[in-house]
């Protein structure tokens, strides 16, 4: 190969590759370090009010491709012992064998299997949730909240997801009453582009 050919090839590559890089899915790390992400749940208390709680220790990554959103993926690992409902005695009970059995099942995981944008800033995500050793498919209603540069030189993208499931489906059959069989999850996620 002649030197001029090599130069031409490099030139071509440098013109084409940035375009390719732009089209590639962007990889994000969920900003748990700055606590701009929340794994929250709520469940009815006796049917009279909503009780809110969250998991404080979790982490994960996601990819997002603006040109091909359906290729987007997320995985999140949650430390079940980090449950926090603002009441130490209740949290102790919830960590115990009546509920999450965190000694035996220290981690809950979510792995997305599909992502489909369904309307303006709306999407539906399917995935597998593993909780208390049980893996089941769940569907998360996703709202795209926003994306763009942050003031400190980075780039961020955020979503909020909502889903609900029966506790019994994941082997939690402690009777909290007829109004408290289902738990809602509210997942607020902000990722920093890598």
């Amino acid at each position: 190969m002649k030197l001029s050919d090599l130069r031409a090839l490099t030139l071509t590559a440098s013109l084409v590759l940035p375009g390719l890089a732009l089209a590639a899915p962007e990889r994000y790390v969920i900003d748990t370090e700055g606590a701009h992400a929340f794994v929250q749940f709520r469940i009815k208390h006796l049917g009279y009010s909503w009780l809110y709680g969250r998991f404080n220790d979790f982490g994960g990554t996601f990819t997002y491709d603006e040109d091909d959103p359906s290729s987007s993926q997320i995985k999140v690992d949650i430390k079940t012992a980090s449950l926090d409902s603002n009441h130490a005695e209740r949290d102790k009970h919830l960590r115990g064998s009546d509920f999450l059995a965190v000694d035996k099942h220290p981690t809950a995981t979510f792995r997305s299997t599909s992502y489909k944008e369904t309307g303006f800033n709306k999407a539906v995500m399917q995935g597998e949730l593993t909780l208390k050793g049980v893996t089941r498919p769940i569907t998360i209603e996703v709202q795209k909240i926003g994306s763009g540069p942050d003031p400190w030189g980075g780039y961020r993208r955020g979503f909020e997801g909502r889903t609900e499931f029966a506790l019994k489906d994941f082997g939690i059959d402690y009777n909290l009453g007829p109004a408290s069989r289902e738990v809602e999850m509210i997942l607020s996620v902000e990722g920093i582009r890598q």
């Binding site: 603002n86 009441h87 130490a88 005695e89 102790k92 402690y174």
Partner: protein, 180 residues
Amino acid sequence: MWRNTENGYGLIAILFHWLVAAAVVALFALGLWMVDLTYYDDWYLRAPHIHKGVGVLLFLVLAVRLAWRLIDPPPPPEPGLSRLERGASTLVQGLLYLLLFATALSGYLISTADGRPVDVFGIFTLPATLSGLPNQADTAGDLHLAMAIAVIVLAALHALAALKHHFIDRDRTLRRMLGR
């Protein structure tokens, strides 16, 4: 009558002993029972409330009892006890005091792990002091159960020894604590 003599226990020491014994057994049973109550049980809220209130009062009674023991020392052991018997009974009784205080303290650390006070039958509330330690409620809970079991095991040894003195050695050890 009220105070201990060379030959036996006074009424105050006897009342302290049996009050603490009854409270300890009752708290142990109540504690084991209440943690398995279902959410809609009438006792779901009341049982832990009583357990905590009695626990705090027991702690106070133990402190007063120990202070009284300094003012009014117990009678010497019955004559004819071997050195081993004397050593073992002193050790068991000392451990019982230690474990009872530690069990009460660990229970307090469960309830106050997030800074909430403990209500004692609406008479007064015990404020939280140590709170927010990593994993506080769970660790204190594990210790509370383990030490409570140890208390019951030691108390059973203590009672068996008393029965042995009464029925086998036929000495006054048990009768002294019954005021006879």
